[in-house]
Symmetry: D2
């Protein structure tokens, strides 16, 4: 799937093949039927930081599990928390109830609660919910290296714009990556990070991943196992000590229980580990997953009717789902890195896009491509 | 400790003795030195519900762990989640990092995120924090039976007012209970609920509890083991099927690790169970605890210096802390019930204060008092 | 259901009614169709403790989820851990896989691993399993006040005997309680404890509980809310400082997911709390539950077919299951206490059966019966 | 550190450098002062499987946290569970109590409970414990491809032998790796697996890892990022579909709380992920860690005295501990693979040692070495 912008190219476009399973048509979370993604990107101002004025480099990314009303048609969901130095909201209710009842929004750390409140407004005003209890779900990573974070610049119109887009035909298509939406100010492995997505499609199910990538140190970066970071570190500077987090959103059409979804989510962080990340103290690494339940296990795997009291052994199908989740997460994270362009933010802080040509040279040097 | 208002009386004032340990001077969470509590109560309008206009029955309660800057002087903390149909924010970071870095605020469900955002503003503007990451902690229960919840009427000035009060000499004294602050619109056991507090003081430590009580069905209510609810149910109506939640805040001056605090918190819900509550599906029952660490274990229990590699057996002291936590929680919940006056809210919905005279009669009938 | 032995009587036989739901025919875990219980009780020797010789006061209790092969027909299961100073084996696999594949055995602490190994032998030799991996499930509490625990006297024949009985018509009937099987040497609330069971039956489902009760201090004991322990403590001695644990086994015929079973299990300990127990440091309090899945939610609650993507709100049925679980646990624990006779064990240590006539007098004094 | 046997060589001996931190003197878990390791290896018989007779390929590995009595001098400990299709015993008590009170033993799945019972005997008979409650800790992976697992051939003398060795000067030195102790029959990535160890030593602390490696598929294997498995899969056969597990034991001399140890343990599995493993359904992946607490944080990091109520930010030191844990785990797993020789077991099942010369060729082809 071709999705390049401004000279940036996705991992698959430059010849990198992650794992052994095939990607879906768009190689994006939107390959899971019904899932939509929308971004609202806010880039405004330059120069020295004036808290409350800017420069602003932030935004919101919205993911809808289906095109209906998510409160009325809740989807089975789960969360896994790798490290919780993070402010994401709504996760405990997902874990206990096993469902998600709103779209998922991603943003910059200090906008989290404004965004949650605006999502609640959207549920009442646009979706027409009238229940007195709603559990908004918002994930965040910290973009304060480039953004006037403390100024909290996301407003109701940005949240509504991202949600409207996710609920449109456009939102169900190609997903913009890199410096967009919640990913706008993010950094990863000493380079510019942001939003990335990928998918895996088997005979049995489709699984898609979207990440907001904001973690890793340059020296640790591996691209498909090649120590790219060590090669680049001499010639590029990190700008600052890169700490940070990753939020992983997973969608599948395979009907799984919340316990099973949780087990799949636990594997997604292994995809991040394959890029060389260690999971630092100051990171808020959360995975949130849901199923649209369009394919029952029995239909998908053509299993003869399971008798009461007889169990389908999970080995028969979950191992393949695990593999898809790890591969798609690794590739989505690479896409976040490869699609993000150089950005200058507050106080002239600069984060370079990873130099794709240099990466290609290094991959060749190490016998790839 | 006398704290009665408007004919309402605390459990200890009407002769009920819960458990075997002694209460602190105020029988309140503020018996833990340095802890402050503030309320902002919003009561406005009458009659039919007009979303966004009212009637308003809501507010904010603030608890500060000490009178210093909680971000700079973080306290060791923990959380326990009994049932997570709830929106409380900031809990996962407490669980993983083992500290709390802001005051704790309590409010009505749909104000949660506005309140969190205003707490962040307070941290920057009043406490003067300048870090780009803050983890606000907000607990909530659902007051929509009496309040225009969807209207979300809490504003910045209410949050600041509650916090200012918690940081004043007044905030470190007697704690107003019942229909105040976050507890304003709450219901419990078919009667009016709200804020309640109690404490236990031993030779070794002080432990205080504050609850925002919004759970339980009338028929299940037990007061010190006496089936008060069954006796009252014929003569009182519940107003509506009472579902709901409880938030439990615990403070102690005993130096405990976050693992130990977590174990103490797990017991607090047993205090609620002793009132007859079963923990329903639609409840968000969370306990958040911290220690001001003013008394080390060795000082408190006069233990000779522990050698390296030698462990203090927890049985030696934690069992007593468990007991204090259960007793104080049971009594704090009773205080919430006994101190809350009858309230009429939106759409003329009415929740009666539990009839204290009738409770006394029933207790006598069952051989108490 | 009449089940009294040697002057002992069950809670329902002496007029105590716990909660508001009806019991099943036997008021036992065996009211859940297919569930069987077997005991092997070992009582041998008197006088001073000689480790390895006796006196022996121990045994094994077996619970089978159905009368088929539990490895081939695994049942959906869950666990909840209240406090894990305990050695129970097999629990983590249940939590992650959501199934149980062997009978559940209960015994005295230090026999745990011998019993687990013998259960594995039974799976291979009697059930004819040939897989190279089996997850035996064994719960334990500590009977060392009366038993030569360190001597570890349970043998293969005892394990096989308990299992054979659980798989017989006898095992599916009335469940012996008190000083039997794994409960033989146990203590509770300063009196003799042991095995107890109870059930609740609604139009929608049957739920049964079996406990091995070994926890609580006399002064804390409440019987249906009445402070029986405080009244008895002057006239009875505890024999020793009673610490300890409780293992709770729950069975239901209602088809629930493992997440839902887990939520029900979390409530069971509230039933123990209602007896006045605080959950001490040195306790291993575990609940293990399974469903025989004989009644689907839709059948049981006569719900019209649930459309894909539409969820059954759990409030519609789980609250009733929670209530059944709490009531049955409280009553099962009382039965353990009321059915256990006075026992003298190693070193002439003596634990009295709770004096039922005195309990009745106290209940009358407090306006009950 | 040279430790090669029978033509096998450790990762560091063939020029592979994992990560950026230095290894300790022995590059083994025994670099943590006081930690001892002992093995008892049982290899007996050839040919067709006769359950109960053989062929036997099993054993026990013992790790002692220090050379004193581990029950009297408990060490602070933690566990992390990645996937719990596994039978390991003793983990829940570690998680709740935050301590470990026995040595840790590793063995083949079905010997788990016999080994636990023999460990209890050792505690009473050799360590002289007389408490009636002991929490033995035993980890396991499944060696049934080569071993008569159902026959359960480990006996008391094997357990005692491994423990005696771990408590000797020899046990505190070079750690035998590969086909030894609990690792004897294990497989990994389609080749022979078993026991491996490695360490990292910084100015501030020493951290050691020991793994019992029994997981992974050949096609997924990566050695320092190089896709060695894909290159080998044409020329080598897996023998059977390789499923399985890994047990990770971690020791450090840095004084950490159990919460902090748990956070370090969560990272260890990332080291396994870097070898290409996805974490399959049928795996029991557990990490158990402890600290000997020989270096306090303040001493180690030369931090001026921390004032009461002031916290040491974990970023200041834990990130380095995380890195050490990931690197040491990745290298320990490689050592298990590289040190394990070809073994023929029951039914002539054969598992080849990974061909080191071929691995070297592949590493060169991909620009390494």
């Amino acid at each position: 799937m071709v999705n390049s912008m401004g000279g940036r190219r996705r991992a698959c476009e430059i010849g990198i093949t992650i794992g052994s399973l095939e990607a879906g048509r768009l190689n994006a979370i939107t390959d899971v039927e019904g899932v939509g993604v929308g971004h609202s990107t806010i880039i405004r101002g330059e120069g020295p930081l004036k808290i409350g004025e800017g420069p602003v480099r932030t935004g919101v990314t919205a993911i809808v599990p289906h095109q209906g009303n998510p409160y009325d048609e809740k989807v089975v969901a789960a969360v896994d928390v790798f490290n919780a130095y993070g402010k994401s909201v709504g996760l405990l209710q997902i874990a206990h109830m096993g469902t998600i009842e709103t779209p998922i929004l991603l943003t910059d750390t200090l906008n989290t609660w404004i965004v949650a409140d605006c999502l609640v407004s959207y549920m009442y005003e646009i979706y027409g919910v009238n229940a007195p209890s709603i559990n908004p779900v918002v994930g965040e990573t910290n973009g304060s290296f480039l953004n006037d974070s403390i100024g909290r610049h996301v407003r109701r119109n940005h949240v509504f714009e991202a949600l409207d887009m996710a609920r449109s035909p456009e939102g169900m298509g190609v997903v913009p990556e890199g410096n967009v939406g919640g990913g706008t100010p993010m950094s990863a492995f000493g380079f510019k990070g942001g939003i990335g997505t990928a998918s895996r499609k088997t005979d049995y199910f489709t699984l898609g991943i979207l990440v907001q990538l904001n973690c890793g140190r340059m020296e640790d970066l591996r691209v498909d196992g090649v120590p790219v970071g060590k090669e680049l570190i001499g010639t590029h500077t990190q700008g600052s000590d890169a700490r940070g987090s990753v939020i992983i959103i997973m969608a599948t059409d395979l009907e799984l229980t919340s316990r099973q979804l949780w087990k799949v989510l636990r594997r997604t962080f292994l995809g991040i580990a394959r890029l060389g990340h260690y999971g630092n103290v100051g990171s808020g690494d959360y995975a949130i997953g849901f199923t649209t339940s369009r394919r029952s296990l029995q239909e998908a795997f053509r299993i003869p009717r399971v008798e009461k009291g007889r169990f389908l052994r999970e080995e028969g199908y979950l191992d393949l789902v695990f593999r898809a989740a790890v591969e798609a997460t690794e590739e989505a994270a690479l896409n976040a890195l490869f699609m993000a362009e150089t950005m200058v933010g507050r106080d002239f802080n600069k984060r370079e896009g990873i130099p794709i040509d240099r990466v290609l040279e290094i991959l060749k040097k190490y016998g790839r491509l």
